[in-house]
Amino acid sequence: MLRIECPCCGPRDHDEFRYGGDASVSRPTHDDPDPEAWYAYVYVRKNPAGLHREFWQHVIGCRQWLVVERDTRNHVVSSVTFARTSRA
């Protein structure tokens, strides 16, 4: 049972969060016309055994989108930051 240390609200149970996918992929700028760049952003994912950067939103809380670093082998969360200030 994961706990996420929300930088705004403090440590909370994962029930309060919504998972938002891989945070290590970088989103093309909104006017980027390159289909390859969008294809990579939408579809290409690594599946690491180890540290994984991922988006979570504190939906039943401050509603901030967060970047959580989680070890996929043991679910240990090593860092949580606001997504706004921690772009990959």
Binding site: L2, H30, Q64
Partner: protein, 984 residues
């Protein structure tokens, strides 16, 4: 059957002043408070308790704990019926009515026990080989009978009337297991200053110490430490509580049974699940004794040696007077000595050639017969064991007996420690698996670590308790625990090599897996333990192979000529013991799990005769009873009234989002496929959002309230997703945009007045409002106050008629609804429900959820022209992927039914005329309605673009009702294609 004829006159931890009546298969019996169902059955001389899973063999009571594979019973009736409960863990309660399982017509005479005669056919893989090969068709014939014959207890089918609770709890140190190690750990951790939770599955603390005499040194040690623990107000003793799983973050899943003493009190939970989060955990889960493998080793009357001792000393039950104890280690000798002291005639058959001389001398002193290098090779008897064939250095001999105590060694209970990935490690000196290296916040002690002597368990528990508390920063000085020496000897044990001469020799009692099945698996190449498990179903019963796992491993290891660690062990997963789904759900059942959402006008709808419908979580009026006898009649009447006069619809369920900031227009311009930057203040626009992959996400209308402020509505279903997605884009993709968004869905009550008379009604309801087309044109906005609440009127239409969406502060919703109905009465204004709403939009050709199904693009839905040459919006690049532009992609068309007396149905598959109705066809109907305008059924469909020529015909096939109907492809807009009704 004499009442409690096997009960000894004195001793035990039962309360003889408190008799308890219960029944087994309808027969009334008596026991005492402090009994388990199993001990009470044994006290009453019951040896046959159940029938086995596959062969329906008679089975008795093997163990005295949660590892029990045989003695499974069903308790309760109707909604309270609960099957497959181990009698060995059920605290005897007044009036408890237990039933045996897996027998017909009765336990003593069971028809299917003939399965035993067909055993050669029922070996591992039998069903697969028989029914999945060339004869697989036979499965369809036999499945019903096979499924009926298989299985253990039957669950109830009625709703469970009882209450369950789920709660959260916290501790510094959680200790799993209340035996000597756990008690010692709890005392040490508490004394060091930690908040402690001690978890014990039993209703008494003590673990294996409860198998000792109830008046000896063990008992006084227990009394002392229990008193010590109770003196700490930082210690929570959780009895009757099983730890079923250990999860991330040191969370332990616990299920607590109700105290069986006395009837349930009103409102009391039958079971309580606790999610206990601890900073550190001490596992003191003990060990499970292994049975032995020989022919007919499953006869009723075969019992684990430690269990036999527990029944004797804890429950004062003497289940047999002519006892054979067979062992590979020293521990079982203590059972022999205690039975001899209780007056039984006892023979010890030790597989070892030279057991410790001290034990042999003690046996001689108290008159226990000892036979070394001797093993049991067969047992006789049907519903109770009668005799054994022993094989020793001087050949075979027969011995009469009524109780056989077996001990094939011990397996540390490593299940819980394995749940978080600590791999078991083989320890040769104890021939068993113990946990591998723990992370810093978990500890182990006692038999679970392979330390079987009581003194070692107390010492190890103490150490673990001190360390676990220290991990939490609690390290007050702790005095040494009281010592307890039970005079146990622990010398090298012998690995029993399973063998069976004739007869079945079981490794897994519950799943009826024999040595022959293991041999078969080996012969057919299923050598890996995980394959062995799946091929033979070994360990897949409700007991999860607690007694069988090691036996099977060592049997397979012997067959492979490999060691046990080379053969490996299966992965242990939660739950350790079965947990009722109801307990996990707690109170979150029915509408406590899926609550209703009600609009501000909910009560008015009920008062006005609405038949309500659950739409997602929302309760919405489906139709109004005064409109017609049933929904089909009512929705057509409600549609007609909207088209001819006016209707009033509750649209409060729409998602509503307030968008503000200097970059709000830029933001909307990016998230909508169609442009919003140039939307004038005071005007609304229909917009469609795409996903990043170019598929349509949601649609709705957005109104520009001011230069930097917009009011967005989303579909009811996608409200939460759209809000979250917009927040995602602002937080992660475009943090430079100065925009704030807030959900205002619940702040507004919303209603729509639609129909040719809507303007007149609006004028009557708001006499001071200028409702002229000039003041409030199509897509126009009016903002003011009404009865002290904010009021927004946006002229928007979903139905195709002139319509106004009216938003008012939620508290004024009922009042405004009533006012509109009142003002609209002279104009025939009537409320309408979601059935008519859906039908009106189909007639107008508007897409909704059935068309925006997560697979369709703007072009598929005929909305591509909204975008024109725009770019740089979400989903723009990937929507132009070649496959999404293929000419044969299914796209939106209208269909009209061209056969009299027939109808279209949503979900029907479309074929070309003359085409064989097979496979996925050319498309499907997504939405249908009867069209009062056209006088027949019309529908929206997604149809392959290369055949979607307006005017041509398709055939709609609906296999569920064996219907086939011809339809003509037409424009999806069935009504007013020029939109004349909306304007003016």
């Amino acid at each position: 059957m004499n009442a409690q004829n096997k009960r000894l006159p004195g001793g035990g931890r039962i309360d003889r002043s408190y008799p308890v009546e219960f029944s087994f298969d309808g027969q009334k019996m008596a026991g005492y408070r402090g009994d388990t169902l199993a001990s009470a059955l044994l006290a009453n001389g019951v040896t046959l308790v159940g029938r086995s899973f596959k062969y329906h063999r008679p089975r008795g009571i093997l163990s005295a704990g949660p590892e029990e594979p045989n003695a499974l019973v069903t308790l309760g009736t109707a909604g309270r019926r609960e099957p497959n409960l181990p009698a060995t863990t059920l605290e005897l309660g007044e009036g408890m009515a237990a039933e045996s399982q897996n027998r017909w017509p009765s336990l003593a005479f069971d028809v299917q026990s003939v399965n035993g005669l067909f055993a050669p056919f029922l070996s591992a893989g039998f069903y697969y080989k028989t029914f999945m090969g060339p004869t697989r068709r036979a499965w369809k014939v036999y499945e019903h009978f096979i499924r009926k014959a298989a299985g253990l207890g039957r669950a109830g089918t009625e709703p469970d009337p009882d209450r369950y609770e789920v709660r959260h709890a916290f501790a510094d140190v959680a200790i799993v297991g209340g035996g000597p190690a756990g008690l010692s750990a709890a005392r040490a951790a508490a004394a060091a200053g930690a908040r402690v939770a001690l978890i014990e599955q039993d209703f008494l603390l003590g673990g294996q110490l409860l198998a000792e005499r109830s008046d000896g040194a063990a008992a006084s040690w227990l009394n002392q430490i229990e008193a010590e623990l109770k003196s700490f107000d930082t210690v929570t003793l959780m009895k009757r509580t099983s730890a079923f799983g250990v999860y991330d973050g040191n969370v332990i899943g616990l299920v607590e049974q109700r105290d069986q003493v006395g009837p349930p009190r009103t409102g009391e939970a039958r079971q309580t699940v606790t999610l206990l989060r601890a900073r550190s955990i001490v596992f003191a889960t003990g060990a499970i004794e292994r049975p032995m493998v020989f022919a007919n080793n499953d006869r009723p009357g075969v019992m684990l040696a430690s269990a036999a001792r527990t029944y004797l000393n804890r429950f004062a039950v003497l289940p047999g007077r002519k006892v054979i104890v067979t062992a590979v280690n020293d521990g079982a000798w203590r059972t022999a000595f205690d039975y001899a002291a209780a007056g039984a005639e006892v023979t010890v058959a030790d597989l070892r050639a030279a057991p410790p001389t001290a034990l042999v001398a003690e046996a001689a002193r108290i008159g226990v017969t000892v036979r070394t290098a001797t093993r049991i090779v067969d047992l006789h008897g049907g519903r109770a064991v009668r005799g054994a064939t022993l094989a020793g250095p001087y050949g075979q001999s027969e011995a009469a007996c009524d109780l056989v105590c077996v001990s094939g060694g011990w397996s540390p209970t490593v299940h819980l420690t394995s749940h978080l990935g600590v791999k078991p490690r083989y320890r040769e000196d104890i021939d068993g698996f113990v946990p591998g290296a723990f992370p810093a916040d978990r500890f182990g002690a006692g038999a679970m670590m392979g330390n079987y002597a009581t003194a070692d368990a107390i010492e190890g528990g103490h150490r673990a308790g001190v360390e676990a508390a220290s991990f939490c920063g609690k390290s007050a000085p702790v005095s040494a625990p009281s010592k307890l020496d039970l005079g146990e000897t622990i010398t090298t044990m012998l690995r029993e090599i399973p063998s069976a001469q004739g007869g079945k020799a079981f490794v897994d009692f519950q799943m009826d897996v024999t040595t022959k099945d293991v041999e078969l698996a080996h012969r057919e190449g299923y050598e890996a333990v995980e394959h062995l498990k799946r091929y033979t179903t070994l360990g897949m019963g409700t007991d999860q192979g607690k007694t069988s796992n090691f036996l099977a491993l060592s049997a397979m290891a012997a067959l492979r000529g490999a060691t046990v660690p080379e053969t490996g062990t299966t992965t242990f997963r939660p739950p350790f013991t079965p947990v009722a789904i109801g307990a996990l759900a707690g109170r979150a059942t029915g509408h406590h799990f899926k609550p209703f959402r009600r609009t501000p006008m909910h009560d008015l709808h009920l008062a006005n005769g609405a038949d309500m419908l659950e739409v997602g979580l929302w309760m919405r009026p489906w139709f109004y009873k005064q409109s017609g006898a049933d929904v089909n009649e009512a929705y057509v009447a409600e549609m007609r009234n909207v088209r001819q006069a006016a209707g009033l619809m509750d649209i409060s369920t729409l998602g509503k989002i307030d968008v503000q900031g200097p970059d709000a227009a830029t933001f909307l311009d990016r998230v909508y496929a169609n442009g919003f930057a140039k939307l004038p203040v005071g005007r609304a626009r229909y917009g469609v959002m795409l996903r990043d992959d170019g598929i349509v996400f949601d649609d709705g209308t957005t109104t520009r309230l001011a230069e930097n402020r917009f009011f967005m509505t989303t579909s009811t279903a996608k409200a939460a997703d759209v809000l979250s997605r917009l927040e995602f884009l602002l937080d992660t993709a475009w943090p430079e945009l100065r925009v704030a968004i807030t959900s205002v869905s619940d702040e507004w009550a919303a209603m729509s007045v639609a129909g040719p008379k809507s303007r007149a009604i609006l004028g009557a309801a708001f006499p001071s409002l200028d409702v002229s087309n000039e003041a409030l044109p199509h897509m126009g906005l009016h903002e003011s106050q009404w009865e002290g609440c904010a009021l927004r009127i946006v002229r928007l239409s979903y139905s195709g008629e002139r319509a106004y969406e009216i938003y008012v502060g939620a508290t004024a919703g009922e009042q405004l609804w009533s006012r509109l109905l009142e003002a609209g009465r002279p104009f025939d204004l009537k409320p309408y429900g979601v059935e008519a709403l859906g039908a009106l939009r189909v007639e107008k050709g508007h897409v909704a959820g059935p068309e925006i199904d997560g697979r369709t693009t703007l072009d598929d839905l005929g909305l591509g022209r909204m975008v024109g040459k725009r770019s740089s919006f979400v989903g723009d690049v990937l929507r132009r992927r070649p496959a999404l532009l293929a000419p044969d992609r299914q796209r939106l068309v209208g269909l009209e039914c061209i056969e009299d007396g027939k109808r279209l149905r949503g979900g029907a598959i479309l074929f070309l005329p003359g085409e064989k109705a097979h496979g996925h066809g050319r498309g499907r109907i997504t939405s249908v309605t009867f069209s009062p305008e056209r006088g027949h059924y019309v529908g929206l469909a997604l149809l392959a673009g290369d055949v979607a020529t307006e005017g041509s015909e398709v055939v709609a096939v609906y296999p569920m009702k064996a219907e086939t109907v011809r339809a003509r492809i037409v424009s999806p807009v069935f009504l007013d294609p020029q939109g004349e009704r909306l304007h003016g």
